[in-house]
């Protein structure tokens, strides 16, 4: 396979918006995307990735939104469920993967089975940890991969340094880290409800349900079957390094408030209108449980070089 041997180009990465991970009312979702169309974000990932019971928007609704996003000049990508267990989930996934109008992001191995042979994105929950996996998937249509969030700069540099030509790399750059998936719905569990009788209680937590330690340190964030970090991962202070490595996209994960402002901060840093240090001071106010960046530096994910844990 031809390798991209050109020196890292210092090309400015594009900005992407990850899928909405929480359960928001339909109107709120539609308003959110209407607002995002006005921001300088380049790529928008859409779709339910956490729980198949959340059906306020159906695949058809997301396709319609994707048409609108494409018409506005931005790139839509259909993102898919991260944990596939039931036959119904598999059928929906198959339908999403069969629609060739839009690029699709695979978040479970099942999606690779349906997407093989056409261009696709491997999301951060596809375990792409080494060059052989990267080449293997590239031969099957991989066009872009999102680095698994626990991997740091050293592995990113190794992978970027020998990536197959034409394959793009995206980093999860801002948001609560997606850490784990389970059969159990933790939101329902903490409301003493069973998953089959969840009463859609995740709708009560537009940014997830905070878990703090017994000494009140914000630690985790529960979002249905997904466990996230309580702290917000922020790679903006490493922007120069990320650009030197040749990263193609930076992902901002939606939150119930300030997403448009966060996109603007990243965009202003990319154009040089804002210094990353000043920008991070601004971003801190959008991260109620503090910022973290340890994974990138090869440390515990919760660690923060920027002194960003709760003030």
């Amino acid at each position: 396979m031809p390798m991209d041997s050109s020196p890292s180009s210092n090309r400015r990465p594009r900005l992407s918006l990850g899928p909405i991970l929480y359960y928001w009312p339909r109107e709120r979702v539609l308003d959110f995307y209407a607002e995002m169309l006005e921001t300088p974000v380049d790529v928008i990932y859409l779709g339910e990735t956490i729980c198949s019971k959340r059906r306020l928007l159906r695949p058809e609704d997301y396709w319609e939104l994707a048409e609108r996003i494409a018409a506005s000049g931005k790139e839509p990508v259909i993102s898919t469920l991260a944990l596939i267990e039931s036959e119904g989930e598999l059928k929906t996934l198959q339908r999403q993967c069969a629609d060739e109008r839009f690029l699709v992001e695979a978040n479970d191995l099942a999606a690779l089975e349906f997407l093989e042979g056409r261009a696709f994105v491997a999301g951060h929950s596809i375990n792409l940890y080494n060059q052989r996996t990267l080449s293997f998937l590239a031969e099957r249509g991989l066009e872009r991969w999102v680095l698994p969030v626990e991997l740091g700069r050293e592995t990113a540099a190794d992978l970027l340094g020998s990536r197959p030509s034409g394959v793009e790399c995206e980093l999860f750059a801002f948001g609560r880290l997606p850490l784990a998936y389970s059969a159990r719905c933790f939101t329902a569990y903490n409301r003493n409800l069973g998953k089959d009788d969840c009463q859609f209680c995740c709708g009560d937590y537009p940014d997830g349900l905070l878990v703090s330690t017994q000494e009140d340190t914000p630690f985790l964030n529960l979002n249905g079957i997904q466990t996230q970090s309580a702290t917000t991962h922020n790679l903006l202070p490493m922007l120069d390094e990320v650009m030197r490595l040749g990263v193609d996209l930076l992902r901002i994960s939606p939150q119930s408030r300030h997403s448009a402002a966060i996109v603007e901060v990243f965009a202003d840093c990319l154009t040089g209108d804002l210094e990353p240090a000043e920008a991070t001071a601004r971003l801190r106010s959008y991260a109620p449980s503090g910022l973290c960046d340890g994974y990138w530096r090869g440390q515990a994910g919760i660690a923060a070089e920027t002194g960003a844990r709760r003030d």
Partner: protein, 331 residues
């Protein structure tokens, strides 16, 4: 249905073989397997001795190389695959797509099993792995209900192995980063969850504290028993309430539903616990051998014996056991 038992060292391997395992699974002494604990696992000489012991008694030996290789360590994973293949083990238990691709190309004659760390929970994911790497078995993550396991078995040509007993991972294996979030090392990258080097125990006036990477994951009164310090089983504050936010300190025991497991067409049942003692391996293997044999003889009238329950209760981690995800209300 095959009984697959853990062997963290040679005495445990022999104990599993002597007490009725159909297969034992092991790993090398490094981060290429998901039980990378100090003093555990096999060097080449030990595994050769173990292989001879097991093969002389018609018991199979599987080697787990089921963590994820990063570029800087890639050669260690391929070396582990080559070593296991050269030793003539009965199967490699792999998770990483790149490692699977390497093993399938370099050692096409070797049986490959997809590890639980490979996170395949549905027929399409298993189909993908089978089509590309010819996997001969899949160990499914502890997320499916028994009805889902049965349905999966109907829809895939790959034999299915499930976990029957031992510690309970609450998250989809291979896709849980909680440990590295707290301390920088995870099952995927390092081969251990909540590794001992990052765990601190501290007696304080408020009780005994357990910290992982400095983060308080449990504080209990001195009277309460301390379990293995996985952060998913600690107590935390959620909406003003102190509780087990993710799971209680409980372990998996599926003895009660053994006839259903058999009827579902499960090909192999796995006992967790390569990090546990030889006594654990001896007792658990013995009970499960008896139970499987009794169940096969007469599934309709199968009832777990009280003596089995007592033995298993003594070696279980935590005070309670659960059917876990196999039982829908757990979800």
């Amino acid at each position: 249905m095959e009984l697959v038992c853990p062997a963290g060292n040679l005495p445990s391997l022999k104990a599993a073989v002597d007490n009725g395992a159909d297969a034992v699974y092991t790993g090398f002494r490094d981060e290429t397997n998901a039980r990378h604990f100090a003093g555990l696992n096999f060097n080449e000489k030990q595994i050769r001795t173990g292989l001879d012991y097991a093969h002389d008694r018609k018991v199979k030996v599987f080697v787990a190389i089921n963590t994820y290789a990063q570029p800087s360590g890639w050669a260690r994973w391929t070396a582990a695959v080559d070593r296991a293949a050269d030793l003539g083990v009965d199967a490699l238990i792999l998770a990483d797509l790149g490692v699977l691709d390497y093993a399938a190309e370099r050692h096409p004659h070797i049986n490959l099993h997809l590890s639980v760390q490979g996170s395949a929970t549905n027929p399409a994911a298993i189909g993908f792995m089978h089509r590309h790497f010819g996997i001969r078995r899949v160990v499914v993550p502890r997320v499916l209900s028994l009805a889902q396991v049965a349905s999966l078995i109907e829809k895939t040509e790959v034999p299915v192995e499930i976990f029957g007993f031992g510690s309970l991972c609450v998250m989809v294996e291979g896709r849980c980063l909680l440990s590295s979030y707290a301390c920088g090392q995870s099952p995927n990258t390092f081969g251990a969850c909540s590794p001992a080097a990052h765990v601190e125990w501290r007696d304080t006036p408020q009780g005994q504290e357990t910290r992982l990477g400095g983060i308080l994951i449990e504080r209990r009164s001195h009277a309460e028993p301390a379990g293995y310090p996985t952060l998913c089983k600690g107590r935390y504050q959620v909406a003003g309430e102190l509780r087990h936010a993710i799971e209680e300190p409980t372990s998996l025991n599926t003895l009660d539903i053994l006839p259903d497991i058999l009827a579902a067409g499960v090909s192999a049942i796995k006992v967790e616990g390569r990090q546990r003692s030889t006594r654990y391996v001896t007792q658990v293997t013995k009970v499960w051998r008896e139970a499987i044999d009794a169940c096969k003889r007469n599934p309709q009238s199968f009832r777990p014996k009280e003596s089995w329950r007592q033995v298993l209760a003594q070696v279980s981690e935590g005070a309670q056991t659960t059917l876990g995800p196999y039982h829908r209300p757990w979800h």
